[in-house]
């Protein structure tokens, strides 16, 4: 090569190298680089398998995975499984100690079942490991209610919350304005409004909620149950309250509310309920805050620009809200290297520095810093309303009740209750009759 060309060649290569470095270091400080280097050195080339379900949180993580792989050399394989199957799969894999999955998406609903079955590993050793979990991770920035209420069970940290949720009411601002209605403040308002809007216009129904036989029915019912004075189990004495007057009333209320919805609401899961509302078929919707991104997505939803939200209405027993969510955890049966690589993945995805990206990609906010970040609040006008709804969820906790009773048999109880509730909706049983039958079955389950 002649001299000028060689010089040019060196300059080009040098600028690429320097440019490449700055590309990597774009936005990330020295301590982040240090951690990334550590992870690259120890876990580069590992594949992490992640058992998950379809959720905006997972959509967000998937969008962020390419960058993660580029920076750390860890490949992530997602196995998206339907919610119901996921729970079974995790239980069976844990029983067989197969170690198929490294990272797990854990439903807070099921933690009480997962804990005794050793589905998820205790995360404290990982959190305390200074080289794996750097200072900039910001574990305590995660909203306390989520950290303690969703991620822990029996004082053991099983998961890092990635999608905390409470339930709130979405309503069609255009319809409410047209008929001069105010958004619901009390549960009676909610029912009255639902009855008002049903059939008001062609193909319009009052409200969309979950009612599919089994746990979906129970989940929808529980969204309204505590405010209406119902409870399945006394959370101090574990006495069965399935056929108590409060619970029966809450069931009758819920059935009445469901009857103001679309005719086939009896097979609705949260997916169909959200679709019905987003397609403009119902005037209201009372479901998870985590699904807000789907409703506000202009490419999928027809009501994105004409929807408002209010916190869960006050009932006769108080102003209560739900508290549930999803965590990411680790499998205790995974190989040590994949497990630690999985933890590096969790640290990256749920860290304070990536939280903004996560939310921008549709992830659900779980950190105080995110809820109070002015830029994000400007983009997500529902954040203050969600925060207020979380306040109502805190009311429930302060009154000594956890939305999901911390008992290993709780899921069996709500499965049975949801099963009977579905029969009441189908008109096969009366509410009191069904609850008396359920009471017997649940008492038997609790005494087993």
């Amino acid at each position: 090569m002649r001299r000028p060309t060689r010089l040019l060649f060196i300059l080009v290569v040098l600028s690429l190298v320097v440019g490449g470095q700055s590309l990597f270091a774009a936005g990330y400080g020295a301590d982040v680089e240090k951690w990334l280097a550590y992870v690259r050195a120890n876990y580069g080339g590992t594949t992490v398998t992640f058992a998950a379900t379809r959720h905006p949180a997972i959509d967000a993580m998937q969008a962020m995975t390419d960058e993660f792989t580029q920076l750390t050399g860890i490949t992530v394989k997602y196995d998206i499984i339907e919610e119901g199957y996921l729970r079974n799969k995790l239980l069976i894999e844990a029983q067989g100690h197969t170690g198929t999955y490294d990272v797990l998406l854990l439903d807070s609903f099921s933690l009480a079942e997962y804990a005794p079955a050793n589905v998820a590993a205790d995360l404290k050793p990982f959190l305390d490991n200074a080289s794996l979990t750097p200072a900039w991770y910001g574990y305590n920035d995660i909203v306390t209610a989520y950290r303690k209420g969703i991620g822990m069970y029996s004082n053991v940290v099983y998961g890092v919350p990635v999608a905390g949720e409470t339930r709130y009411v979405g309503y069609r601002t255009d319809l409410f304005q047209k008929y001069g209605k105010q958004p619901p403040k009390t549960m009676d308002d909610l029912l009255t409004l639902a009855k008002f809007f049903k059939g008001k216009e062609k193909d319009l129904y009052g409200i969309a909620m979950r009612a599919q036989k089994g746990i979906h029915f129970a989940s929808g019912w529980m969204t309204t149950m505590y405010q209406n004075g119902g409870q399945f189990l006394d959370q101090k004495t574990w006495k069965v309250l399935v056929n108590s007057p409060g619970t029966v009333y809450s069931l009758e209320y819920y059935i009445d509310l469901l009857n103001q919805g679309p005719p086939d609401i009896s097979v609705y899961t949260h997916e169909e309920a959200e679709s019905a509302f987003a397609l403009g078929k119902t005037a209201m919707w009372f479901d998870s805050t985590a699904l807000t991104p789907w409703i506000l997505d202009t490419t999928k939803s027809l009501v994105a620009d004409k929807v408002g939200f209010v916190p869960p209405p006050r009932g006769r027993a108080g102003a209560y809200g739900a508290l549930a969510g999803w965590d990411v955890g680790l499998s205790p049966d995974a190989k040590k290297k994949s497990q630690e690589a999985g933890w590096a993945f969790i640290v990256w995805m749920t860290s304070q520095i990536k939280a903004k990206d996560y939310v921008k990609q549709g992830g659900t906010p779980v950190r105080t810093s995110v809820y109070s970040d002015p830029e994000l609040v400007k983009q997500n006008w529902t954040f203050p309303i969600q925060l207020e709804s979380l306040g109502r969820a805190a009311n429930l906790v302060n009154d000594g009740i956890l939305w999901l009773a911390p008992h290993p048999k709780f899921l069996k109880v709500i499965e049975v209750a949801g099963n009977y509730g579905s029969q009441v909706l189908a008109g096969q049983l009366q509410a009191k009759q069904a609850m008396d039958l359920a009471q017997g079955e649940v008492e038997k389950i609790m005494s087993e």
Partner: protein, 316 residues
């Protein structure tokens, strides 16, 4: 070993057994072992939440609980399963036979029509469930969209129509199977009986009743038998469509087994007992069916045809 005569070594038991052994082992592991496990577990109170080590021997209590009525959804599930079985098999047989007869002639582009027929058979049942759930949706489903033009709106998955809807999906998926089997049967029938019947002056209804049906009997038996067994086992499609709801209207025995054993309640012992009941039911139904049909040798069929067709042309 005996001194091998020419050819007898190659057909000796020992030699043949060596070829059969691999598949026998696989079959044993896949079929016999789980079956024995099922029988064993049905006699315990194994609970998925509590773990394998916590199980206790429970004798026949799981079975007695079903028959004493402690499981409120068991007998409704049995009834629903039988109704489902009767409706789907009958509809599939009638429509399948009609389609097979329609195909049994020269048609332009027959291969293309046959390809269309095969499509439902090739789709995964769970996907079919999802597809139909979207189509059945009262608000944004295709069926109600079309019915809207004649001002009709049917609540497909509601309490009144859910059972009918799942029957419809099964008929949609499996009628082609019956049609193809019966078509193959029709193609295999020789033309001689038909020719002599026409000569004797038989009407087409008489031909159908006394020649086609009896000759088609073996295929009909196989098709109906296979469909009956499958109808008793169906799970994926119904689970995705309704999960057994609303109430317990579409809860077939297979769904009941799943719900009791895996849907949060985790009572594997109890659900194994229900599974065995379903197995016994299937065995009884198929045995009764075989007895009733009493399929015998081709000669006997030929004799019967002879008897049936001897009266043709005498009704002058």
């Amino acid at each position: 070993m005996r001194k091998p005569r020419r050819g007898s070594y190659w057909t000796s038991r020992g030699y043949l057994l060596r070829f059969l052994l691999p598949s026998m082992i696989v079959l044993f592991v896949i079929v016999i072992v789980p079956m024995v496990f099922l029988w064993y577990v049905s006699l315990t109170n194994y609970d998925l939440g509590k773990g394998w080590d916590q199980r206790h021997f429970a004798g026949l209590s799981n079975f007695l609980m079903l028959f004493k009525g402690e499981d409120r959804d068991f007998w409704p599930a049995v009834l629903t399963t039988l109704i489902f079985l009767a409706c789907t098999v009958t509809l599939e047989f009638i429509i399948g036979l009609a389609v097979a007869m329609l195909f049994n002639r020269t048609i332009a582009g027959k291969a293309v029509w046959m390809a269309f027929l095969i499509i439902p058979l090739t789709i995964t049942p769970a996907v079919i469930g999802l597809m139909w759930k979207l189509m059945y949706n009262t608000e944004y489903g295709v069926l109600n969209f079309l019915l809207n033009f004649i001002n009709l709106k049917i609540n497909w998955l509601g309490p009144r129509s859910a059972l009918l809807s799942i029957i419809m999906v099964d008929v949609w998926q499996w009628t082609p199977f019956v049609a193809l089997m019966l078509y193959a049967g029709l193609q295999a029938i020789s033309t001689e009986p038909y020719e002599s019947a026409v000569v004797d002056g038989a009407s087409s209804l008489q031909i159908f009743r006394f020649i086609t049906l009896p000759l088609l009997r073996p295929m009909i038996v196989v098709a109906v038998l296979l469909r009956s067994i499958d109808a008793l086992r169906i799970f994926d499609t119904v689970y995705v469509l309704t999960k057994g709801g609303p109430g317990n209207i579409t809860e077939l025995l297979s769904l009941h087994i799943y719900r009791v054993g895996f849907e949060h309640t985790g009572w594997i012992g109890r659900s194994s007992a229900v599974a065995i009941v379903l197995l016994i039911m299937a065995t009884i139904i198929t045995t009764i069916f075989m007895r009733v049909v009493n399929i015998t040798r081709p000669a006997a069929i030929a004799n019967r045809i002879e008897e049936n067709t001897s009266g043709f042309g005498s009704a002058a």
